[in-house]
Amino acid sequence: MPHYIDDKPRGIRKHSQVIVAPVTGAAIALYQLTLGGQNPRTAIVRKVMIYSAVGNVTVTIGLGLAGAFAAILPPFYALNLFDSEWTEDEIPEIEVAADITVESDIAGPLVMIEIEEIGT
């Protein structure tokens, strides 16, 4: 039976903690890349879950903390009191080699991501 590339994922699936996203300019770590071993891993954001009880929010996922933050994906807009999910069909395959961070235009939404880590 033939098998195709989709049968063989590039990496392993892992997840972030549920993080309370801070306000713009105060980005904090959302997912810390696995340390250890002799060689770096990279990570691809596969799923995003956001829940807000602080109003409609625009959440941005990127790299770098606080003032060094740089987005790696367009902002995610989440409606107040709705659970919002974006799955990998809707997220471009952005592979990064650093910790993933998050910020929001209003402090307080809950954010969690699933990532695929590439490496060994």
Binding site: I5, D7, R10, G37, Q38, N39, G119, T120
Partner: protein
């Protein structure tokens, strides 16, 4: 009807050992086959110690030709390896530093992430390292942006050997049945 195991180098599908303990292999080295009996086989799982980061090539740049010290084999052993390129680079395999593997008359085939599309198990890129006939790799970044790493992961088997002095390639004293191991690029 029972069938004999079909094992041989470059076998399609997930990696398998190429001969069983007790069987005879001829390792291509110094332009002859040298003959050995396999004493012992051990798996080498894909893992962090068997991954090399060839460097951080800038846009359009190459890394240095890097010795794969992680794949060095002791005396009287050879390794059978498959490679998986993890980053968007094109990688050439050398055995010694100036001898390219997987070559045609005018071109040299490379390893890349595209390989998995047609060859998910990497059997066409299988290679062998015999004793201190070191392998080397060089990565080329064909993208228009810099890469922070150029990683290649390996897995395979190691074979512990016993010399069979009664056979000699030059004298054409050959075993009845033996498996050819392309352990070097000596041509």
């Amino acid at each position: 009807m029972p069938q004999l195991p079909q094992i041989y180098p470059y076998k399609p599908g997930p990696i398998e050992y190429i001969a069983m303990p007790g069987e005879t292999v001829g390792v291509w080295v110094n332009k002859v086959y040298e003959f050995f009996r396999i004493l012992y086989i051990e798996g080498l799982p894909r893992s962090n110690p068997l991954l090399i980061n060839l460097g951080a090539p800038g846009a359009g740049a190459q890394t240095a030709v890097t010795q794969l010290t992680l794949l060095e084999m002791p005396d009287l052993e050879f390794g059978q390896f498959r490679a998986e390129v993890l980053d968007d680079v094109e990688v050439i395999l050398y055995q010694g530093r100036a001898d390219q593997r997987h070559k045609l008359h005018t071109r040299v085939a490379t390893y890349s992430r595209f390989l998995r599309r047609e060859d998910p198990d990497g059997h066409t890129g299988e290679f062998y390292v015999y004793e201190d006939n070191y392998a080397f790799m060089q990565a080329t970044n064909n993208t228009d942006y810099a890469l922070t790493q150029a990683r290649v992961a390996f897995h395979g088997f190691r074979y512990v050997l016993e010399t069979l002095t009664q056979y000699n390639w030059r004298a054409q004293k050959l075993p009845d049945a033996w498996t050819r191991v392309p352990g070097t690029a000596h041509l």
